[in-house]
Amino acid sequence: MFPPLQDLYRIGPEIVLCVFGMLIMLIDPFVPAGRKRSMGWLGFAGTLVALASLRWAFLNRGSAYSDLLRMDTFSLFVHGIVISVAAIAILGSFDYLDNEKIQRGEYYALLLFATAGMGILAGANELVTAFVGLEMSSISTYILAGFRRTELKSNESSMKYFLLGSFATAFFLYGIALTYGATRSTRFDVISNALSSHAAGALLILGLGLIFVGLGFKVVAAPFQIYTPDVYEGAPTPVTAVLASGPKAAAFAVMLRIFYTAFGSTSHIWFWAIWVSAVLTMCIGNFAALVQSNVKRLLAYSSIAHAGYILVAFAAASEIGVAAVLFYLASYAAMTLGAFLIVAYVGGTGERRLDIADYAGLGTSQPWIAACFSLFLLSLLGLPATAGFLGKFYAFSAALDQRLVWLVVIAAINSVIGAYYYLKVIVSMYFWEPNKDWTPSPLHAPMFIALLLTAAGTIYLGILPDRVMQWALASARSLH
């Protein structure tokens, strides 16, 4: 009658995150205004506990709650990504929130809830559950995006994100409805059985298309990438960091589950959609970034481009392809988090220093920050011995394994085009004369740790990627 105890383990991470979120909400009112940082540490503790709880989840893997949710290696992997993202983002947010005078407990609570939602997404084995998880993460991120309430840009970003997000969600929902109508169920396994018994009808495929719209919006696949630059630019930078890494990972996870497990047998239909979308995404991201002078926006475009690379691996629609997607998500999370955190740090109070020119001479005034940033940029660029290169390498090889030569060639050329704007930032950091009028704010421990972790991750995944690759492969296998 009542679900067994293991089910609680299987949603352990979510439980932990939510509990800590509520804790924060409960304690927050009693914490004096000056001490709100403690809430952040509480949140950080939450993420650590959540990470630890993954262990139990791992020990009793399996499907939970009448198979609405699956805690398999795949889900674990994605959990790992999103929770670590949250942890690092929290570390990176402290100083920022202080500078912006918005140091409040709700921020951390929302972050935790959002992460929980992503976790649900990662494990969902049923469309409506996925929908609810999606909403959890989306709604909290809508709010986070608008967290700098007095800032017009922040409002605008939040508003656009909200309107377009719920618009896309509506499509997603209608897709669910149609799928339900076509297969009498919303559970992935049932759908795939239905598909294996008889071919996909128009209704089902229409549903799939609408689902693709909804999820494509979250993974910023062209032409649904359209909102990304504005939202990323307007949102508080640490939030942007999260947006670029966490929800994207979760959305890709659920997309994999839906397309690869549920609708796997219709891959010949959705493959081309992914192919075209991948090409568009890469090209739009890279070309538009060429002319950006605002680093934050530039990174937003670059995140579009990277979504494109991930889609290349996605298009492979093979086990290795899935593994490649997962590995790419991990490495991309590491480097983009680091990059955005540095943007947050350099941006200073009110995010005033976002232009490339503001980075001039960083190499001399702040060698270590510059070195880190260069590392992340080079990794985004795909320089060997960094996470970015291995990600691309794996993705391309997966795609080539399915003989997607042209797709890979396009992707490869794109990555060179991308090199230009990443190098442009490096140029300004090292080759331009430093502008004197700026005294860098001190680098506090939390941010330092955050950068250290991301940098370490970037290098680790670049030089000794094998363990993570094995995990990714195992997760891919665990999908069915």
């Binding site: 009808g201 128009a202 799939l208 032409p223 959705w270 538009a288 002319v291 950006q292």
Partner: protein, 651 residues
């Protein structure tokens, strides 16, 4: 048999001298420099004498070859650093070491007041080294080493006064022009290797010996090789059409002109042709080409010499023309005669230059003959020696030049590959030679002084300069007496000595012309008489124009101005080359290759691509217009596109 077993000594000595002087000489006093830089050539000559002694004692039929180390080896290609000595080498080496030594001694006096003294001698020694390598090499590639090496030294020494633009230009011109010839030489070597899979003389001569002679009209590989090698020889020995560098080379110090551009280096081409005689004798076409080029050059250069005013320029053109005679000789198969002339020419031409140097020295650097005159009294030694040399070159009886040139003309007229036309050219050349040489003598030493006697204090040169001149003068007289016996029915000991080297070719020539009979002995005298007559005629013309009727020359010049101008301007060949080759090449390189293709086309397209992609980006960013409604529309577009596509897929 020390030297014969250690041939390297002969080339090592000058090299040692050069290195020593170059590295240490900078801070040495003059005496020390003299000691090292003159001492080593003297030693070299000494060892050469020893070599000759040993050689005659041994008197080997085949060349003595000493293989020292492998220089290049890759795949089936292999070149050894091997030296060899045979009769030809003995002769050449003699000329090189002996004349070289004398000129070194002379230079001690001549260069006394130049700065860069040590540099001069270092480079001279280096030249000796490379020249000896050239003549002693046992394979083509090593020959090429010496070949290029002497070219380098000539470059260095011509531009010795490098602060003078003309000198620098001349050096560069010399090197590059010869390089053009060497291009042919290189390909010739490549082709030789391709044909014989070897480059050392022994092998290739052995292999070529049993190849058929190639016809005059359908050429084979050998002919091509010979012509390519000939290109190299033309460049080095300043024959038509690559002679243009030699006159300019007179920018160098006079001893350099004497040693390099008269006695030794420029004769390398002749030496090479003689050395490769088995090839040329297998290719009548090539041989004829050699002869024609030689004869034409002989006449051509002589005519130019007629109108020159610079004393050294006259000598330069006369050198070109004399080299022409040598080529003519080789071309008609009279290699021995060619080498013979080479030797005698080395003596008297070196002497001429040294004497000219002495004149210039006396005149305090003046080189224009029209600003000289009447030096006879003031510098008697110079005058005497120079007169001897002049007699020798213009073929006065019993002087060295007489015999050698006579032999050449004889072979051209009655030799085994006789050709009357070539003989005619040669004889005409001889006439003009006598004419311009005596013109030189008269203008320089006779008549009234045409210079300000108070400003210029003419003085005889020091002993150290005079002595070598005297020695050379002596040799210019007796140097040709080897062949004296032939006129009394005796045998030509020089030819006999060189026989082993050219035997094959001569024999082959005999086969080619079975019907050929030795010309009657009386012919010798007739030819000699003609030669002497021609020389005399030339002398008389000069006498008439420059002594008896001093202003006749001017009249003549004004009378036939165009021709005079033509000769004075050396047939405008330099201008021609400048206008036809150099100018266009530079224009092409700058305005087409660089500005248009490199910067415009290639780089332009690259940058254009970058620009284009930025424009595309600029266009794409306008997709993000900031208006939420358009964003929504994009989403709808995407949705419709995807769904329509999907539904169409399952239709």
């Amino acid at each position: 048999m020390f030297i014969l077993n250690h041939l390297w000594v002969i080339i090592a000595l000058p090299l040692a001298g050069s290195m020593l002087t170059l590295l240490a000489g900078r801070h040495w006093p003059k005496k020390a420099v003299n000691l090292s830089s003159v001492g080593f050539p003297v030693l070299a000559f000494a060892s050469y004498c020893e070599l000759v002694r040993e050689f005659f004692a041994l008197n080997p039929a085949a060349p003595v070859i000493k293989d020292y180390f492998t220089w290049m080896v890759a795949g089936n290609f292999r070149v050894d650093f091997a030296l060899q000595v045979d009769q030809l080498t003995i002769v050449m080496l003699g000329v090189v070491t002996f004349v070289g030594m004398l000129i070194h001694i002379y230079s001690v006096g001549y260069m006394a007041h130049e700065d860069g003294y040590y540099r001069f001698f270092a480079e001279m020694n280096l030249f000796m080294f490379f020249m000896s390598t050239l003549v002693m090499s046992a394979n083509l590639v090593l020959l090429f080493v010496g070949w290029e090496g002497v070219g380098l030294c000539s470059y260095l020494l011509i531009s010795f006064f490098f602060t003078k633009k003309s000198a620098a230009d001349a050096g560069k011109k010399a090197f590059i022009t010869t390089r053009i010839g060497d291009w042919g030489f290189t390909i010739g070597i490549l082709m030789t290797f391709w044909l014989f899979k070897a480059v050392d003389y022994q092998t290739i001569f052995a292999k070529v010996a049993n190849m058929p002679v190639e016809g005059m009209h359908h050429w084979g590989a050998l002919t091509v090789i010979c012509l390519l090698l000939l290109a190299g020889a033309i460049g080095k020995s300043a024959q038509l059409p690559l002679y243009v560098w030699l006159p300019d080379a007179m920018e160098g110090p006079t001893p350099v002109s004497a040693l390099i551009h008269a006695a030794t280096m420029v004769t390398a081409g002749v030496y090479m042709v003689a050395r490769m005689n088995p090839f040329f004798s297998h290719s009548p076409a090539a041989a004829l080409t050699v002869a024609i080029i030689g004869a034409v050059t002989a006449l051509y250069a002589a005519t130019i010499a007629l109108a020159q005013t610079d004393i050294k320029k006259v000598l330069a053109y006369s050198t070109i023309s004399q080299l022409g005679y040598m080529f003519l000789a080789c071309g008609v198969g009279a290699y021995a005669a060619g080498i013979f002339h080479l030797m005698t020419h080395a003596f008297f031409k070196a002497l001429l230059f040294l004497a000219a140097g002495s004149v210039i020295h006396a005149m305090g650097g003046e080189q224009n003959m029209f600003n000289m005159g009447g030096l006879r009294k003031k510098i008697p030694w110079t005058y005497g020696t120079m007169l001897v040399a002049t007699l020798a070159i213009s073929g006065a009886p019993l002087f060295a030049g007489f015999f050698s040139k006579d032999q050449i003309l004889f072979d051209a007229y009655a030799g085994i590959n006789a050709n009357f036309l070539l003989y005619g050219l040669g004889t005409l050349g001889a006439l003009i030679t006598a004419c311009y040489m005596f013109r030189l003598i008269f203008l320089t030493f006779h008549g009234k002084p045409r210079f300000d006697e108070h400003r210029v204090h003419v003085h005889e040169s020091p002993k150290v300069m005079v002595v070598p001149m005297v020695i050379l003068a002596f040799l210019s007289i007796v140097g040709g007496w080897f062949v004296l016996p032939t006129y009394f029915g005796g045998k030509d000991s020089f030819q006999a000595f060189l026989e082993p080297v050219f035997a094959g070719s001569n024999a082959l020539a005999q086969q080619m012309r079975p019907g050929y009979v030795e010309p009657p002995h009386s012919l010798e005298y007739e030819m000699a008489a003609i030669a002497v007559g021609v020389a005399l005629l030339g002398f008389l013309i000069a006498l008439y124009l420059y002594i008896l009727k001093p202003n006749a020359a001017k009249k003549l010049a004004t009378g036939m101005r165009p021709i005079y101008q033509l000769l004075l301007r050396k047939y405008y060949v330099d201008e021609l080359y400048g206008a036809v080759v150099i100018g266009p090449l530079i224009w092409l390189s700058r305005n087409v290759l660089w500005k248009v293709i490199d910067v415009g086309l290639i780089d332009g397209s690259v940058n254009g691509l970058a620009f284009l992609s930025r424009r595309v980006g600029g266009g794409l960013r306008h997709m993000q217009g900031g208006n939420e409604r358009s964003y929504a529309t994009w989403v709808v577009i995407g949705a419709v596109a995807v769904t329509v596509f999907f539904v169409w897929m399952v239709r």
